[in-house]
């Protein structure tokens, strides 16, 4: 029993700040959609409009085609997990989870059993008797998740649930949330400012900026084919390399001729957008035609990969290489730089 959620021309203004500026988005049943964007982009406001804690100034929120804008928050049937501090401090984990059923007058034994079931589902068997101040941050959020699911809502809303947690806990918990969501098949809206989080677990990523939708699509699409410069910069890192349109659907960059992906702006001088992992680095001397001679300026070791900052003809280029090559590519090394042979994105200069 899962639902479709729609935002239609949603608009919300706080004093002078425009939080939402005509947001249009559809979330299909059973999907996990991540609302991604910088602070102040309106993602939390949009989520709270679904939950009923914010009333849009104009536009509508629809659940299963029904306009719920006038429905009070306690009748929305949209379970929400807050960022932090949302567990009732005077109730233990079990009673926190059983709160919703209790309000609905579910008999004590039934609701307690269900609460225990849910706590086990979220990975906290045996902690039902603990109080919030006796639980770690990660455990508290699991209880909050169980509580949100207790009334079998038609939509699950998550407001940056992992932001206040340690890095390792964050990664583990987000995998579990995704697994749970897939098992239950519940429509889920996940708000985050962490693009890695969004890309790793979402079915669809919706990038927001200044209250408007910049792009919505599967993670790979948002990453590989950003629709706007903002998305290109916000999601992952992007190199901007000077290039020249060659007229036959190709562009010349770094001495290579590569096909243009998508529509090309009017040239001939353009910016070619290239991800660091699409830059190939090899040690000079290179006999390969089309490779330039550049120098490693800085190297940032990240465990599985190394991010190199290269200087090539006065142009700075970021490149990601496998971690085990770090030793050979120390700063000061002269290298050959080559782009992977695939269509590239081109933007106006």
């Amino acid at each position: 029993m899962t639902s479709k959620v729609e935002f239609r021309a949603l608009r919300r203004v706080f004093g002078r700040t425009v939080a939402l500026d005509g947001l249009d988005l559809t979330i299909e049943p059973g999907r996990l959609v991540a609302l991604l964007g910088p602070s102040g982009c309106g993602k939390t406001t949009a989520l709270r409009c679904v939950a009923g804690f914010e009333r849009p100034d104009s536009g509508a929120v629809l659940i299963d085609g029904e306009d719920v804008t006038d429905v009070p928050a306690n009748k929305r049937d949209a379970g929400m997990v807050f960022q932090s501090y949302s567990l009732f401090p005077n109730l233990n984990a079990r009673d926190n989870v059983a709160f919703g059923p209790r309000v609905r007058k579910v008999p004590a034994a039934v609701r307690r059993a269900r609460a225990d079931e849910l706590l086990e589902l979220v990975g906290l068997p045996g902690l039902a008797g603990r109080y919030p101040h006796q639980l770690s941050g990660g455990q508290q959020q699991r209880v909050a998740l169980a509580r949100a699911l207790a009334l079998e809502p038609r939509v699950l809303l998550l407001d940056e649930p992992l932001s206040a947690l340690d890095a390792k806990v964050r990664v583990a918990l987000r995998e579990e949330i995704r697994r749970l969501q897939l098992d239950l098949g519940i429509t889920t809206i996940f708000v985050t400012h962490d693009q890695e989080e969004a890309l790793s677990i979402a079915d669809q990523v919706a990038v927001l900026r200044d209250g408007r939708l910049e792009q919505a699509g599967p993670p790979a699409e948002v990453y590989d084919r950003p629709a706007t410069p903002f998305v290109a910069e916000f999601v992952g890192t992007m190199n901007h390399l000077p290039g020249r349109l060659a007229g036959d659907g190709k562009v010349t960059v770094l001495g290579q001729a590569l096909p243009v992906d998508g529509p090309a702006p009017s040239g001939p001088e353009v910016d070619v957008l290239v991800r660091p992992e699409a830059v190939q680095v090899s040690l000079s001397p290179g006999a390969d035609p089309g490779s330039g001679s550049g120098e490693v300026v800085a190297a940032s070791f990240r465990g599985s990969s190394v991010r190199l900052r290269l200087l090539l003809d006065g142009q700075e280029i970021l490149a990601d290489v496998p971690g085990h090559e770090a030793a050979r590519l120390a700063p000061g090394t002269r290298v050959d730089v080559r782009l992977v042979e695939r269509p590239v994105l081109v933007a106006a200069r």
Partner: protein
Amino acid sequence: MRRPAGWLGALPLLVFYAFVFGIPLAALLAGAFTSRGEPTLANLRQSLEGGNLTAMIGSVQVSAVVALSGAVLGTFLAYAVVTSRSAALRGAVLTASGVLANFGGVPLAFFWVATLGNSGVVSGLLGLPSGSLYSFWGLVFVYLYFSVPLMVLVMAPALDGLRPQWREAAANSGATAWHYWRHVGLPVLTPALLGGVVLLFGAAFAAYATAAAMGAGTVVPLVTLKIANALTSDVLVGQENVALALSLDMIVIAGLVMAVYLPLQRRSTRWLR
């Protein structure tokens, strides 16, 4: 080297305490159990009968009524202040509470005599019968002037500690305002509420100056007034020791009140982290 320093720093305070607080207390205990130079329980017995008992009961009654009504009124006022959008109003009421909670005493009595006393400015307007202020309820009414602000000061931080996420999470789980207050809001506030009631009781119980300045002693029996009379009266010789016994009774009651207050105060801070 470290340990002696700790004792050393605290030594002046400890010595002072032993002398200025310890000796009077010892004298009080000794005197309460002594009569004409001999150990006895007669003083204690006398302190709990007749006029003294009436006074004790009177004090407890006044204090209890003030504590309960002050707590309710103060909590509502604190809630109104905390949920108000105007920061200026918040600041003004909280500052006023800070002043009035510490005010009490003699000036308070005179304000009310000037307002609702027999020749008070307002009593004429309201057509109050003479002597209304100098009654049980008159005294309660006056005592609320410092009790309500005190409760506001206790409850405002406690109400602030109610996180908006709790309210929202409750609504999200289908709760109405009533459900929220019943299952989350009031339980979380209870330690602070009880602590406030206890604090108000203690303050009203120990009050002397206001009642004395009002001259309410003849109408409302209060143990503080009884003790003061016994101490200053030259007529009743040998009554000082009964006064000391009465004092001991007061301390025991105040002690019980404090024994309830402290653990409650600790509990309320734990939840409102």
